[in-house]
């Protein structure tokens, strides 16, 4: 018997929703096996990894803290991906957003104004948006592949951030640690639940999800973005402006990633540090695809991804596992998702060995 992949006549709708669930299940299974080999009880380990982090209110608050930047980045990426603009640079856009927001916040250390926070957040969005626009411009002007340019911009962004954190942004009273001064209270995101770190960033993320949802499903610009992604020839014939749309989606996804970066600085960190993001921008790529580029899907996928981050931290503490467990789970999830997505357009067929056909001469 041979397994054979046969193209389906039509993409399977059911499979396109089932695939993420199947991928999640396979990730759990492989994770369990992996824990067994490390000498842990798989059920217990998975419980610590996936359930224990959110067993109390504090855990829930932490989940929201982690989910907010992931959701912001992922929903922005979904807009770009819908247009078939492959922005891999959410991480860099997030870092530049954090850097720009910090630059403003550090000027406002003595200021106590309502306008301080909006200014900080807006400069984060502006920074991220312009960083994204740069890749769009390279693509429009020089036909430079945005996958490559955005990846390279991630590194440029990281080293720019390090340059400033070790240089002019370093807190003079910080005993030489590479970190900025703590931001003024007026520049910090208000806390939602007392005694936790849960801040209003999660509300921004939810708002962004709703706005993008409306934009993609109800607005003409959203329609144009979708047409561009599905059929660029039709977009051209209809007179939609290709280059302008590429710029728009890159600004949107860059600005949302920038907001995520600003929210990290003005949120749980309260300052600019070198490790402002544990790879949220990369995780958001997985989240966007896991959520089928749909706002509702991205909402749930962001929570799952946040949970994996928390679980990784807890596994480090309780099971003495390295933090790499987080990346491992992320990687498995993406791997299984891509594998399962094959079944959207293909079905498995069992092939019995064929009796070689012959010319039957009578």
């Amino acid at each position: 018997m041979f397994l054979k992949l046969e193209p389906r006549g039509e993409a399977s709708r059911a499979m396109s929703y089932l695939s993420p669930l199947l991928a999640g299940l396979l990730t759990l299974l492989s994770g369990g096996i992996f824990f067994v080999f490390l000498g842990h009880d798989p059920i217990d380990a998975l419980r610590i990894f996936l359930v224990a982090p959110v067993e109390d209110l504090y855990g829930f608050a932490e989940l929201c803290v982690k989910a907010a930047p992931i959701m912001l980045c992922a929903i922005g990426l979904a807009v770009a991906f819908k247009a078939q603009v492959w922005n891999i640079g959410a991480e860099g856009q997030l870092l530049i957003g954090g850097l720009a927001a910090s630059a403003v916040a550090l000027q406002l250390l003595e200021v106590e104004s309502f306008w301080a926070l909006p200014l900080v957040l807006l400069s984060g969005m502006l920074g991220g948006g312009l960083w994204g626009l740069l890749a769009a411009w390279l693509r429009n002007r020089f036909n430079a592949n945005e996958i490559l340019t955005t990846i390279m911009f991630n590194y440029i962004a990281l080293y720019l951030l390090l340059y400033f954190v070790h240089g002019s942004f370093k807190d003079p009273d910080g005993y030489g640690f590479p970190a900025s001064a703590i931001f003024a209270d007026s520049s910090l995101l208000p806390i939602l639940i007392e005694d936790t770190r849960m801040h209003i960033g999660i509300l921004f993320a939810l708002l962004a999800v709703v706005i993008i949802w409306v934009m993609l499903s109800r607005s003409f610009i959203g329609f144009q973005i979708k047409v561009l992604g599905l059929d660029s020839n039709a977009a051209k014939l209809a007179g939609f402006k290709h280059k302008r749309l590429v710029a728009v989606v890159m600004i949107i996804s860059g600005a949302l990633a920038g907001l995520a970066g600003a929210g990290e600085g003005a949120g749980p960190l309260e300052q600019l540090v070198p490790s402002i993001s544990p790879g949220y921008g990369y995780a958001a790529i997985i989240v966007a695809f896991l959520g089928r580029l749909h706002p509702v899907g991205i909402f749930f996928a962001s929570l799952l991804m946040a949970l994996i981050y928390l679980g990784g931290e807890l596994a480090q503490i309780e099971l003495n596992l390295p933090l790499a467990v987080t990346s491992l789970f992320q990687g498995m999830l993406l791997f299984y998702l891509l594998a399962c997505d094959v079944f959207i357009n293909f079905k498995v067929k069992f092939n019995r060995p064929q009796i070689s056909a012959t010319l039957e001469n009578s």
Binding site: G9, I221, D231, A234, G239, F240, T358
Partner: protein, 530 residues
């Protein structure tokens, strides 16, 4: 009459199909099809697009396998495993879309297709020239494919079949890419082949050609055989009705119009193609009046795509003057601005340019209809868009479950009716339609022709670019032809003939006045340099 001759000469059937059935998901492509071809017979397989002709011939050529039924080859039952087995048995096939490598020579291409059987290349080249001469389709074996015309490329495909020991030659719509003169040459070759004992299965939906060439015809509709006949004796109407069914109206005659003032004026349009294998436009001049249909004939790849892109605005010109709408130069305006000035456009590819395959008909209505008040401050007016899409579906009798259906699940003819309806209901002042009925069944084609005539009578200027010369004669008021990026002068349809248009299609026409002056200028320039 020929049939009797050849059948008695050979005394046996070459190929016999019995009860061939093929089921595809959601579509019974062939249903109990019987077919018999004698040695030396030219047999037509007639039917509309989607009637199951392609499926049937793919099974004969071993590309797919029947679910039920028997294939009997020269008296014995066979199971044709794959095309290479079919080739070994002596079956050759010329597909509608050629599979040739542009950068290789004729010999190299044929050697690739033959595989191990090719043998020594020089011997093969000799064989190619003898075989091609023998059948009156001369070919230079050392020429590269990209330097050959479409007609010559088809010869390469046919010769590829002939260098082997061939007993049955299958040709899929071979004339759709040829000029009328080339068709005649092809028919001479095919008749000679048949006289030499080769059977030919000629797949077509053009009745006139079948009548001119074939001894017998089998007619398919909806996967079933609806009749067999001798084309020379059966009337065209009878065969057409077997093809489309009795209730479908078959094309009628339309009165010709002369039009009023010029709406579209193309003057000295010269434009180099972006595509390295494309055709550049050279000093193109023509005009379309309000209330008339101008038809542009031509074999594919002679600059039609470039001309259409220059008219739609997909390819912007260097200056605004070469293309004018009602006196206003539009060469620098993008497609949207041209639509605002009254342009409607039906592209050649209906899926993937005229409509987004994955999107619903409602969304595809919005694709070009967004200027018709379907937007509110940048947001989509959903009820209005749905209404408009429903109007297209109702007015143009688009067969679809509802307006939420994805464009890709409509049949070609229905989608084309939808796209034409979408453009016409926007009341264009100028409608440019590329191959409006290509691959569309006769019923839908008639509906599309009527819609175009109606729009013309309302005073719109219409430009139709088509490869189907019969269609152009049917609906155009004036005709011209495009060849290698140049356009012939236009003549009233009633004052020209298929032969004349055929000559234009091969580039034989008086250059237009400006082209003459251009040549004069060039001559003067060279003289002054000297």
């Amino acid at each position: 009459m020929n049939r009797q001759v050849s059948a008695t000469l050979s005394g046996q059937l070459r190929l016999q199909l019995k009860g061939i059935t093929k089921q595809y998901p959601g579509c019974l492509a062939n249903d109990q099809v019987d077919l018999e071809i004698a040695a030396g017979e030219i047999h037509a397989l007639l039917g509309e697009n989607g009637a199951g002709k392609s499926t049937l011939m793919k099974m004969i050529y071993g590309v797919t396998k029947p679910d039920a039924g028997e294939i009997i080859w020269q008296g014995s039952r066979v199971e044709i495993k794959d095309p290479s087995m079919a080739r070994k048995m002596g079956i050759g096939m010329v597909f509608q879309h050629f599979s040739l490598f542009e950068t290789l020579t004729v010999t190299e291409n044929i050697a690739l297709a033959l595989g191990d059987e090719a043998g020594d290349l020089q011997l093969l080249a000799k064989k190619i020239s003898t075989v091609s001469k023998q059948y009156g389709m001369e070919l230079n074996p050392d020429r590269h494919i990209h330097s050959l015309s479409v007609g010559e490329r088809q010869r390469v495909e046919i010769v590829r079949c002939l260098v082997q020991d061939i007993k049955l030659l299958i040709l899929d719509e071979p004339t759709s890419v040829l000029t009328p003169q080339e068709v005649e040459t092809l028919f001479v070759t095919l008749r000679q082949l048949a006289t030499d004992g080769c059977s030919i299965l000629f797949i077509s939906h053009k009745l006139k050609e079948v009548q001119a060439l074939c001894h017998n015809a089998t007619i398919l509709r909806g996967g079933k055989v609806t009749g067999d006949c001798v084309p020379a004796e059966a009337g065209a109407t009878k065969m057409a009705q077997l093809m489309v069914g009795v209730d479908t109206p078959i094309s009628s005659n339309y009165p010709k119009a002369t039009g009023t003032e010029v709406f579209l004026a193309v003057q000295d349009l010269t434009n180099s193609s972006e595509d390295p294998f494309g055709t550049s436009l050279k000093k193109v001049n023509f005009s379309v009046r309000r209330g008339e249909i101008l038809g542009i004939a031509g074999v594919a790849g002679n600059g039609q795509e470039e001309l259409l892109a220059a008219l739609s605005g997909e390819h912007l010109l260097d200056s605004s003057d070469p293309v004018k709408f009602a006196g206003l130069g539009v060469g620098l305006l993008d497609p949207r601005k041209r639509r605002e000035l009254g342009l409607g456009f039906v592209p050649e590819e209906r899926l993937g340019r005229g409509a987004v395959p994955e999107m619903s008909l409602v969304e595809n209505t919005l694709l070009t209809g967004f200027l018709q008040g379907l937007l509110n401050f940048g947001f989509i007016n959903q009820p209005k868009t749905e209404q408009f899409s429903q109007r297209i579906i109702d007015d143009y009798k688009v067969k679809t479950p509802n307006n939420r259906t994805a464009a890709q699940s409509l049949s070609g003819g229905n989608l084309q009716k939808f796209i034409i309806g979408r453009e016409i209901l926007q009341n264009p002042q100028l409608l440019v339609a590329a191959h409006p009925t290509w691959g569309v069944d006769i019923g839908a084609a008639t509906a599309i022709h009527k819609a175009l005539i109606e729009l013309r009578d309302k005073g719109a200027a219409i430009l139709v670019v088509s490869e189907d010369i019969d269609e152009l004669f049917l609906i155009s008021d004036r005709l011209c032809a495009i060849c290698d990026g140049e356009i012939s002068p236009a003549k009233a349809t009633l004052e020209t003939s298929i032969e004349e248009v055929g000559r234009w299609m091969t580039g034989v026409f008086e250059p237009t006045e400006s082209a003459v002056s251009e040549q004069l200028d060039a001559a003067l320039n060279t003289r002054s340099i000297n």
